[in-house]
Symmetry: C2
Subunit: 198 residues, 2 copies
């Protein structure tokens, strides 16, 4: 492992220790269950219709999960920036094919872990079971909260609230992706952005 | 514990063993971390604006989680029938106030567990950590899938697909609750039901 790789994977060590306790001496072994992978911008990691055996942890860059709707338009259903996981959790659990693609939005570096290794890791390190329980708990809670926004607020309110909560994200990620994630058309999002300049 | 209580809580034992291994001899101790509670139809277990320290497992009956929207209408965001959990996972994790109410849709019997007991249980029984990781993984995956339906299908398609997947549920639960859960008005749902009789 060269110094820059060591440096970037150390982010995962720091991240883990904000939720559970992982000893420095155990980390290289924990890391050995993962692959470190570089994805170029627009590279597809998982393709809709195929298996989804892998979870992705973003070390740098940004991934999104999207599907192609009945009119042929791509629609983002989830984003993952640094320190976030992305996978089709249901397809992973049931070992079924996924409806979703996972793609790099920017040049990205990720840790990937396949189901078999994931199960072995969780057996070997019980704190990783706890860690993933917390990750899924937060992801589930956030997903319900997102539904709450969709049901309770106008599209305009959703956009402005999203921009207030995640200003860097709105600057960084292409607007047409944010539009589909928020359930807006790119044209409508452009209008909103023109309407109020922060 | 009287025989009928023993009988109903045994459902939880059977349910646990479809995901992890729990020994019969350990089950009474596991159960001691929970309270068995009867809720009357329409009884509120958690009130919006307050703390949400508790998770509910439905032994019999049905709960829902709802909020009152800006127009004053109640909107269901999640249901839980038998063998399902209900809580505001994000408020529970961050120990913040919840935006949601949790209420019995029918006379129900539930197991409830508070955060402190939950943490003690998971320390004492690592398989319960695994169990909750799986519960949250499935709940998160299902929530993303629901978003996929909302984004990809018309309201009419969502209703018919939902009825096909959960026919008993549609028979059992009041239509005005299903309507808000699917993002429809009760009037629109009535029209849909009249349109195609299964």
């Amino acid at each position: 492992m060269n110094p820059s790789e060591e440096n970037i994977t150390h982010r995962f060590f720091k991240h883990l220790n904000t939720f559970v306790t992982v000893e420095e001496k155990d980390f290289p072994h924990i890391l050995s269950y993962f692959n470190t992978v570089k994805l170029s911008k627009k590279e597809i990691a998982v393709r809709a219709g195929g298996k989804c055996n892998t979870k992705y942890f973003v070390l740098s860059g940004c991934l999104h999960m999207f599907f192609t709707d009945e009119k042929g338009a791509d629609r983002t259903i989830q984003f993952a920036l640094e320190n976030w996981w992305l996978t089709d959790a249901l397809a992973l659990h049931h070992q079924t094919n996924t409806d979703f693609n996972i793609q790099a939005v920017e040049d990205s570096e990720v840790l990937e872990i396949e189901t078999d290794n994931h199960d072995l890791l969780l057996e070997a390190y019980p704190q990783m079971e706890k860690y993933f329980r917390m990750m899924y708990q937060i992801a589930y809670g956030a997903s319900v909260k997102r539904m709450y926004y969709i049901f309770n607020y106008s599209k305009e309110e959703i956009f402005f609230s999203f921009r207030e909560q995640f200003p860097e994200f709105v600057q960084r990620v292409p607007q047409y992706l944010i539009a589909t994630y928020l359930g807006l058309t790119p044209e409508y999002l452009s209008k909103l952005r023109a309407k109020k300049v922060s």
